[in-house]
Subunit: 203 residues, 2 copies
């Protein structure tokens, strides 16, 4: 029997470098499953079902909600977005860890439904640094940047409700911190019931 994997719920403001940290992480942990969201919006050019999103009809999405088949969901611009429970649980059962990258509200919905989920927040070293990163992208107007910064500040205020905080001062360090958290969570007594029984077997 495989040992059940760990479910990591990861949040962090836009521009904090989550994506880069995760890309580095997955290079060394290809067996870890990156949870894919479901949505009722139409696929854009190049988007594939089961790769970028699971594309559901409104009926299918609502029926899953009713059956308790969504770990979390929200409505955005008249479309549903959410995390189907089945693929996540299937991977956990196989013994694979699962990373669910998700915004704050969704994160707490997941924690409510899966209390053993490990809540990790990634933050930039400072809001000044975040401003520099957003300005450095040269894709957003000053107005958009100010909005993003205000949103980031609000999100970071939620960090204290998470279980772990990773400051993304250096990508390699941030990736190692994520690895450390996952390794330690595997040593939790709640994850080691079988090992305790094994130790006690046949004295």
């Amino acid at each position: 029997m495989n040992k059940r994997g760990i479910l990591i719920v990861l949040s962090g403001p836009s521009g904090c470098g989550k994506g880069t940290v995760l890309a580095e992480f997955f290079k060394s942990h290809p067996e870890t499953f990156y949870s894919i969201s479901a949505t009722t919006r139409s696929p854009r050019v190049g988007e594939q079902d089961g790769v970028h999103y699971y594309f559901y009809t409104k009926d299918a999405f609502e029926s899953l909600i009713e059956k308790g088949g969504m770990l979390e969901y929200a409505v955005y611009c008249d479309h549903y977005y959410g995390t189907p429970k089945a693929p996540v649980f299937a991977e956990l059962e196989k013994g694979h860890d699962v990373i669910l990258e998700i915004e704050v509200q969704g994160a707490f919905q997941v924690k409510q439904r899966v209390p053993e989920a490990v809540m990790v927040f990634i933050a930039p070293p400072s809001l000044q640094e975040l401003r520099l990163r957003l300005e450095g992208r040269q894709t957003d107007s000053q107005e958009v940047i100010e909005k993003r910064l205000a949103a980031a500040k609000k999100e970071i205020e939620w960090a204290s409700k998470y279980e772990y905080l990773i400051i993304n001062d250096q990508v390699t360090l941030a990736k190692q911190r994520l690895e450390t958290i996952i390794s330690a969570e595997k040593l939790r007594v709640s994850q080691m019931k079988e090992e305790i029984n094994e130790v006690l077997k046949n004295a």
Copy 2:
């Protein structure tokens, strides 16, 4: 200001190799403080106050108990044994981690008084392995070994009330697991309040 250290409460049955794991650990972490017990029994030949034990008079020990100055204590063979709070807290304040090696009852007394203490249990890979180790020492009679094994079994049944479990299958791995636990505990949001404030400063 120093970041407060982590208090690790470590238990495990006699013969599980705790001592060897800790010796390896302290080689790489000389700054970590190994908490010394206090006792009212007389020093044996070669024992030094503040090295092997803090040697207290009965009055001094009881007065500390009354003032809430003991993290835990017990009476054994008509003598008090316990952990004075002051040196442990002084080291934590300095930012040093503290390891308190202690049996199960004392461990839970500490957790009650210091809820943020991290409870770690070290177990042998199996009771058979423990039997082999105890027999290999060739210091105890078969009767003593059976008693130790029965005691170990009882202790290991408490493991599930701890927070982390380290199986000491290999000393180097067990030491690394202890390091992982401590590193992850330093990433806990409760340990990172200053960092969160720092991130939010001057947007």
